[in-house]
């Protein structure tokens, strides 16, 4: 795996997506090419306009692609879900860093997000001590064996990621 990846994990309701969104903006503002990857266990539909690409996929196309001068969109169906490593190789060869959401059970480097309003135990420091945990982003002090970052200090989070993965 060549592209650096950091995965944000949290209990649901912790605001993972909002944090990843803010970090994307911050990393972009620092000049990095950023990829974002999310696993959606549910069925999802793509194609906002419900237009031709949607029709092609509905008609059974295994892969549907729409290109424009600015961007491309692809929907690919598969019988066996690729591994995260395969997805990273296939989709993110041209970015500097990939921020992922979820993938709790993977061995990707992880930052766990913690909020005081959620239960105090951490996903990565429960019965299983996840060796891939590299930091915790929290809104309260915690006794923890990895760096503790301020959840609301996006710049500090970006600094940490840069120092760890982009230097």
């Amino acid at each position: 795996m060549s592209v650096p990846v950091v995965s944000f994990v949290a209990k649901s309701g912790t605001g993972k997506t909002t944090l990843v969104e803010k970090l994307i903006r911050e990393m972009k503002s620092r000049g990095h090419k950023v990829g974002a990857l999310k696993h959606d266990a549910h069925r999802f539909e793509i194609d906002h306009e419900g237009k031709d690409s949607w029709r092609f996929t509905q008609a059974g196309a295994d892969t549907t692609v729409v290109t424009s001068p600015e961007k491309m969109a692809m929907v690919k169906r598969y019988t066996a879900e690729p591994t995260i490593e395969e997805t990273l190789d296939a989709c993110f060869a041209d970015v500097d860093i990939v921020l992922t959401e979820g993938f709790k059970r993977s061995s990707l480097p992880k930052i766990e997000i913690h909020r005081s309003e959620c239960r105090r135990d951490l996903l990565c420091r429960g019965e299983y001590l996840d060796p891939a945990l590299i930091a915790v982003a929290s809104d309260e002090p915690l006794q923890i064996d990895v760096p503790l970052l301020n959840l609301d200090d996006i710049a500090a989070l970006a600094d940490f990621i840069e120092a760890r993965f982009l230097r």
Copy 2:
């Protein structure tokens, strides 16, 4: 370019998308893995649910991917639009045939769709005799130097494509 490609071209209003849609169904029913590719000169938005993947792209992600057990969706932004050959290589390595819509000016093998209600001259047989024209699918007889197929006979169109590209 390793995967066979056939591009459907027509004047607007000829029902290109509907024909490609029908052909996808027909080719799938014959057991082929089918890719579909469309160029959209306009801006398009992706992500029907306006959810997390949309938020990541809006936040500036260069590439956003959502995976599920059944399919994956990717939106990639670029500063320079890839060539069609690059798109074919990157996206369609795992299908048997790609059906494209548009790409009038490419050198891809083309089938022009013609309807009697549209103007009689063909896009590929006007001032410029397009050497990539391999057939015309029409709802009326035409004097033409390439095979003439019945626009409404989807099975015959699929037979033609199979004979030409998949044997």
